[in-house]
């Protein structure tokens, strides 16, 4: 099925943001040959722009498709997105203004650079940096898949539209740097707010109210199952999923980039207060999964092909096509597609910053301002093209599995980045060993789950405690790093390598 009116509106909105992306280079322009300008927007974004940029980072096309899809398919467990995006903000408030301050003083543009400066250990910086790039790659691929789902829902076949969209993305990322996603994020969020508000007004009215929607959800999916005797069941599964995801969130390179581009620590703290507005929106979006169940779209013949191809991910596109006039479906799909472009651009830039500062200039050639920016710009193209090739060659289920692994990996940088902002107790080599053990044990447990489940049933003193693998393994990582730090600090002290001073952290 094709939807000409929706397609025209969709293309018009996408065309508009692409123009915006290219013109962004001139917005408040600095010297674009400096990597701090290209890759960090000159650290000049105020509260409002940071709000859009960090919001554009966290609440992506993948989120808009995957969270309702999880509610649609699995039920209540999908609502973990809410506590996740609640508890991440106290972490943002307490931890990241500190990172901003030290990064600003020493000119760091990435998290790994801070770790390298703190321990004088470029191998630890490399490990943290490579983790970030590897965790980001499948994340970009998933943004592409989110975009592909809405393009497919419009009835446009093939890979060509996607290649075009991401070709343009690579081009404006190259020319405008971080200013492009910052500007586009404003349009994206306005469209998303319009879509979600329309959805919660129009769709429940069509379906007979929220009471009628919830009444159509099978009881087993409406609440978490009560744990069996001797187990904490989904109670700990749900809570650890939320907490672990929140701890990992701001360690992703694209989140760190958005945070470091703020104009000061106060902007970050204020955003910890105002960003939860998006969480409320996310809760509403999650409920669109239940609206899709209640509306019965999965058994309508016109959507059969879509569900066959995209699975539960098709729930939101089908619901939108079924509930709204064609022109508004175009607006909603444009919101999702732009919701893919914004984070994908930030992810490409963030990975490029890491490649340049933590890999290239440390291990290939020494850092010079002019070459830094050129290397970063080229690497950002590599990331986008790499993700595009990735989803064309590899089935999309692998991208989802790798994204799951990416979450397990990125959280292993928590001790090195977060603890180091509060204490210099740890030894750099001990953190590296802890990191390695965390990565290996998390990957191993996910493999035992056949790369399908994020939760593992741990047995503690005769009690079964199902937990998010990422959270459990980062605890092991931190304990190993702490225990090893004692002898290593005695035998191979590295405190002299610390280029920062205690006053940087007050």
């Amino acid at each position: 099925m094709t939807y000409p009116i929706a397609t025209i509106i969709f293309l018009a909105l996408i065309g508009f943001v692409i123009l915006l992306g290219f013109s962004a280079a001139r917005w408040n322009a600095g010297d674009m040959s400096q990597i701090e300008e290209w890759g960090l927007g000159g650290r000049r974004f105020g509260t409002l722009i940071s709000w859009f940029l960090i919001g554009g980072d966290i609440y992506t096309a993948y989120t808009f498709i995957a969270i309702p899809a999880l509610m649609f398919g699995a039920g209540a467990i999908g609502f973990f997105a809410l506590p996740y995006t609640i508890v991440c903000y106290p972490i943002l408030y307490v931890v990241f203004p500190k990172l901003w301050k030290v990064a600003h003083k020493y000119g760091y543009i990435t998290g790994p650079e801070f770790v390298r400066g703190r321990y004088g250990n470029k191998y630890l910086g490399l490990a943290i940096g490579v983790t970030g790039i590897f965790a980001t790659m499948p994340y970009i691929a998933l943004q592409l898949i989110g975009m592909q789902t809405v393009i497919g829902a419009l009835g446009i076949p093939g890979h060509i539209p996607l290649m075009l969209a991401f070709g343009v993305l690579a081009a404006f990322t190259y020319t405008s740097g971080l200013r492009a996603p910052a500007m586009i994020a404003i349009v994206k969020d306005l469209l998303i707010y319009i879509t979600v508000i329309a959805a919660i007004v129009v769709i429940p009215a069509e379906l007979g109210g929220f009471g009628a929607i919830f009444a159509k959800i099978p009881p087993a999916k409406l609440l978490l199952a009560t744990p069996p005797a001797g187990s904490t069941g989904l109670y700990t599964g749900y809570a650890t999923l939320a907490l672990g995801s929140a701890m990992a969130l701001f360690l992703y390179p694209h989140s760190t980039t958005a945070i470091l581009s703020a104009s000061g620590p106060r902007v970050i703290r204020r955003n910890a207060v105002f960003l939860p507005a998006y969480s409320f929106l996310l809760g509403m979006l999650a409920l669109m999964g239940f609206m899709a169940v209640a509306s019965g779209v999965s058994s309508m013949p016109q959507f059969a092909a879509g569900f066959k191809q995209y699975g539960p991910s098709f729930a939101v596109p089908a619901l939108v096509l079924n509930s709204f006039p064609a022109w508004f479906a175009g607006v909603a799909f444009a919101a999702i597609a732009i919701g893919a472009l914004v984070p994908a651009a930030i992810m490409a830039i963030a990975s490029a910053n890491i490649f340049t500062r933590d890999i290239y200039s440390q291990f290939v050639a020494s850092s010079r301002p002019q070459t830094d920016t050129r290397v970063a710009k080229l690497f950002s193209i590599f990331m986008v093209v790499g993700a595009l090739v990735f989803i064309m060659v590899i089935p999309s289920t692998y991208a989802v599995q790798l994204q799951l692994l990416g979450g397990m990996w990125i959280i292993q940088t928590f001790p090195a980045i977060v603890f180091s902002l509060f204490t210099r107790f740890f030894n750099g080599w001990a953190l590296l060993v802890g990191w390695a053990i965390g990565i290996v044990s998390a990957t191993w447990l996910v493999a035992l789950n056949h790369f399908a489940g994020a939760i593992w049933a741990f047995h503690v003193f005769g009690l079964t405690v199902p937990s998010y693998i990422a959270l459990a393994t980062v605890v092991v990582n931190a304990v190993v790093a702490a225990v090893l730090s004692l002898p290593l600090n005695a035998m191979a002290p590295d405190r002299a390598g610390d280029e920062t001073i205690a006053a940087d952290y007050s």
Binding site: A76, F79, L82, P83, I86, V87, Y89, P90, Y93, V94, G209, F210, G211, A212, I213, F214, L222, L223, L224, T226, L234, Y235, T236, Y238, A239, A242, L243, R266, R269, R270, A272, V273, F274, P276, A277, S279, F280, G283, L287
Partner: protein, 61 residues
């Protein structure tokens, strides 16, 4: 140390056995759903209180 108030955010958001209930429902929403939606603004307010108190202290210095 007003920022210890932020601990409450974690307690409210992660007390799963407490909020994994259908009743009392509100406007057709089971408790599980409206509770978690409700604590979003509540927790934002707690963070706001911490922000305002710390901000005033900083200016006072």
């Amino acid at each position: 140390m007003i920022r210890w108030l932020l601990i409450a955010v974690f307690v409210l958001a992660l007390a799963v056995p407490f909020f994994n209930q259908a009743e009392p429902s509100l406007f057709g929403f089971p408790f599980f759903y409206w509770y978690q939606m409700l604590i979003v603004p509540v927790c934002a307010l707690l963070t706001f209180v911490v922000f305002v108190v710390e901000d005033n202290k900083r200016d006072g210095k």
